[in-house]
């Protein structure tokens, strides 16, 4: 029996970072407690996987982008390195709690942020084809409706009518509305509209605590919420500024290095918040596409295709880099410009859902990603 004393607090939104929590088990909905929890960090702008995890073993790397390869990368093995900004991730790797999937992407090749972001959240077969998101559909299948705590329901979590949204406007003297007025409005409207007004009343009565606003604090808060019995089982944090067309840099203090450090800190903050729930947790990054292999004329990279996915969490028992390495020679690149994606990142998402929500891969493939032939990569990541 779950303890349903939920602290249904707060949605948290900040410039540059926002958090969405969902999947709060409700009585009568959840047949079994899900085996774990899942957190998705959306890296908006298209992260350059070749700088984050440089495949220094490929002789073409330095030829194609010498100024973008960090000098002091951490050698993970004889082929792959890790950007020095990802120190904490490397520490998780040392503890066998983090992995990397390289040369991967959602199946999107057109290089538009808007389409790409929609596709990686929607998880459909083409941009704007889905009105729900792959995580929302997964929660529905796992019978874990809940609330996405945000002003706008993020696409990735859409998929169930019982999902609710909320945004705390912490304006002085505005946190109490006239309940009598709302009651009157509720009675004056039909059943469905009346429910909306009752919802407004309920939300207005929820107390807001001291709300953290930076990405790290959001992650720690989310981790803490998910660690509680009966707490949410999914969270989503957005980070932006990965669209590094110019001055991308190679080291820790450079543009991309700074953004990668934020990702690193967010993952570590999740770890702090999750506490003992870490062992059943999986944290994954998604991004709409990778970037060009070669550096452009403004010391940056342009929109591309293949990239990397960073995975962390106690659910991972053996750290590794998983890749079907396509090579970086010109004729090995996608359209002779981008890193080729050889692993469908939807497969990675499916594996993480399978691990965290306990759903069958075939169900995820056909009902979440609408692709019954989606390969199962679970064993590569979790065994």
């Amino acid at each position: 029996m779950h303890n349903y004393k939920l602290t249904r607090r707060d949605f948290l939104k900040a410039s540059g970072a926002s958090l969405f929590l969902s999947g709060i088990p409700l009585p009568g909905f959840t047949s079994d407690e899900p085996p774990g929890n899942i957190s998705v960090i959306i890296l908006e702008g298209g992260m350059d996987g070749l700088t984050a995890v440089p495949p220094f073993g490929d002789p073409n790397l330095s030829k194609m982008r010498e100024s973008l390869v960090p000098e002091n990368y951490l050698k993970l093995n004889s082929f792959f390195g890790l950007h020095p900004s990802l120190k904490k991730l490397s520490s998780f790797m040392a503890s066998n709690n983090a992995s990397i999937v390289h040369a991967t992407s959602f199946p999107y090749k057109k290089r538009s942020h808007f389409e790409g972001q929609n596709l990686v959240e929607g998880g459909g077969l083409s941009p704007f084809s889905e009105k729900t998101g792959w995580l929302g559909r997964s929660l529905e299948l796992a019978k874990i409706p809940g609330r996405a705590l945000s002003l706008d329901m993020p696409l990735i979590l859409r998929g169930y009518s019982e999902n609710d949204n909320f945004f705390p406007a912490n304006i002085q003297n505005s946190n109490r509305i006239n309940n009598n007025l709302v009651d009157s409005l509720s009675k004056a409207h039909n059943k469905e509209s009346g429910k909306v007004f009752q919802k407004v009343k309920q939300k207005s009565m929820e107390r807001l605590g001291n709300i953290p606003r930076d990405a790290e604090s959001l992650a720690e808060y989310a981790g803490n919420a998910m660690s509680k019995n009966g707490g949410p089982v999914a969270s989503v944090i957005r980070l932006d500024a990965f669209d590094t067309h110019a001055s991308q840099g190679d080291g820790e203090g450079k543009d991309l290095g700074v953004e990668l450090a934020k990702v690193d800190n967010v993952i570590a903050a999740y770890r702090r918040g999750l506490g003992s729930a870490w062992d059943r947790s999986i944290i994954m990054t998604i991004t709409e596409f990778g970037r060009t292999v070669a550096m452009n004329g403004t010391w940056g990279t342009d929109h591309g295709y293949g990239t990397v996915g960073l995975l962390a969490g106690g659910a991972i028992k053996k750290s590794r880099v998983i890749a079907k390495w396509p090579g970086l020679a010109k004729n090995e690149q996608y359209e002779q410009r981008d890193l080729m994606a050889t692993i469908d990142y939807r497969s990675v998402c499916a594996a993480c859902i399978e691990k965290s929500l306990g759903l069958d891969h075939d169900v995820i493939a056909s009902q979440v990603f609408f692709d019954s032939k989606l390969p199962r990569v679970f064993d590569y990541i979790f065994t």
């Binding site: 951490l74 993970l76 093995n77 004889s78 082929f79 792959f80 120190k87 904490k88 991730l89 490397s90 520490s91 998780f92 790797m93 040392a94 503890s95 199946p107 999107y108 090749k109 057109k110 459909g124 077969l125 083409s126 941009p127 084809s129 889905e130 001291n210 709300i211 953290p212 930076d214 790290e216 604090s217 720690e220 993952i267 570590a268 903050a269 770890r271 702090r272 750290s319 590794r320 880099v321 998983i322 890749a323 079907k324 390495w325 396509p326 996608y334 359209e335 080729m340 994606a341 050889t342 692993i343 469908d344 497969s347 692709d371 032939k373 989606l374 390969p375 199962r376 990569v377 590569y380």
Partner: protein, 455 residues
Amino acid sequence: MKHLKNLLFLVVLFCLSTVVNAAYLDDWPDDALCGWMQQSSPPEYIIEEVKKRGILCTDGVASINPNASQNGGSDTQSTEGIEIYDIVFDEEILGELIKIAPVESAADFTEFFKEYQLAFLQNQLTCGFKLKRVVYENTSKGEIEDWNMAYGSLIINGSEVTLDGSWRMGGLSNDPKYMKDEVNLRLTRDGHIVGKMAYFHLSINNGEAPRKPLFIELKKHQNSKPLNYKIRAAAEYWIDVEDWAGGIMYVFNCKDSAELQKIKSAKEKAVKLYTDALAKEKAELRLLNKIYQPYVLGPNTVFKIDYLDGVFEAKSAPEDSKKLHDDELHKAHINGMINSASLDQSIGLRTLMSIRENEDNLTLVVSAAEDEDKEMDPLKEFAEPAILKCGKLPGFWWDKLSFVVSTTDIEIAKTQKCYFDFFNNQTNSEAKKLYRAILSASPRILSYLKSDTDR
């Protein structure tokens, strides 16, 4: 032959229809094809065309099939060829990586204590501690700020150091768990405190977003003065936090449990003595209360003076005095007459006067200096002996007499009574008369000074 002709006709017709369909569909937009695909049994040639074009149809809308091998795309629909690249760190790097401790919990430091030789104290030691910020913005030596970021007790048990106190940085620092649970410190044999602790380096005000603490490491800092736990000398532990500021933890007043017990007993004894003394004092004050009218106030009692009806009538405008001391107000040379019905006297007064006022006392200070007007002559020779006998009152100087009008300090009230007794017992009736006259009119002189002088 006839059947052969019919068969040939059908074959030709089929081929032609296919060609016609294919040619016809070439002009169809993808979405039109997908519209047909929504039917329960779409025509085969439509299906073929959809496959040929490599499009996917969702709700009648076409999209590019991501799995179609176009533009040189690779096959992502198979796990064949996926390799696992094991992560191999060498021992040294592995040690460093684990030390990064991404969890940022003080508890993670435990295994590193083996790098130190730890002390082991037989008796528990309890000290006071306070933590201040050291700022390096202006000098590399650091400037210690004069306020406490945290304070409380520091307890050393064996080698383990725990803190019982509170942070004063607002935000999450108000949560006592950081002081209680997120401190993992040990005392080394040479008196240093090492380990890891949650550390709030920034102040958070109400309404500001809270910030998580840093988890800093206490090391043997070159500036630190380690604790000599044998003689219990005070210690200073310098803490490196950020480039612009660090911290310093003062550890002082260390006592073992036996000493603490002694202090506790002594405190209990002192409380009893104080309580007894207070009871005795109250008895004395009650006795005094029978003599004076309530005017000069002391705690739990009042003094009584029964001739406070003196009236001051100015003969000329007050002359301002330029020199003012810190709590001196309305200082002026005044000239007038004091008339008291109770005392049945009328007496001239021309001298320098001022008011001294603070939270505890309101005092009229009268100058009896040699160079003051002859009206003050009777008091001039008695001011110094009175001070020597009774002590100093607010506004004290050797040639000045103070008249405390109100006070919350029982000692001042007693001193004031001593002055009163001193002049009351004088055989010099002029001095006695003048003192009593000024006392009788002191409230009204105060009012006069307040209303008729500027400062």
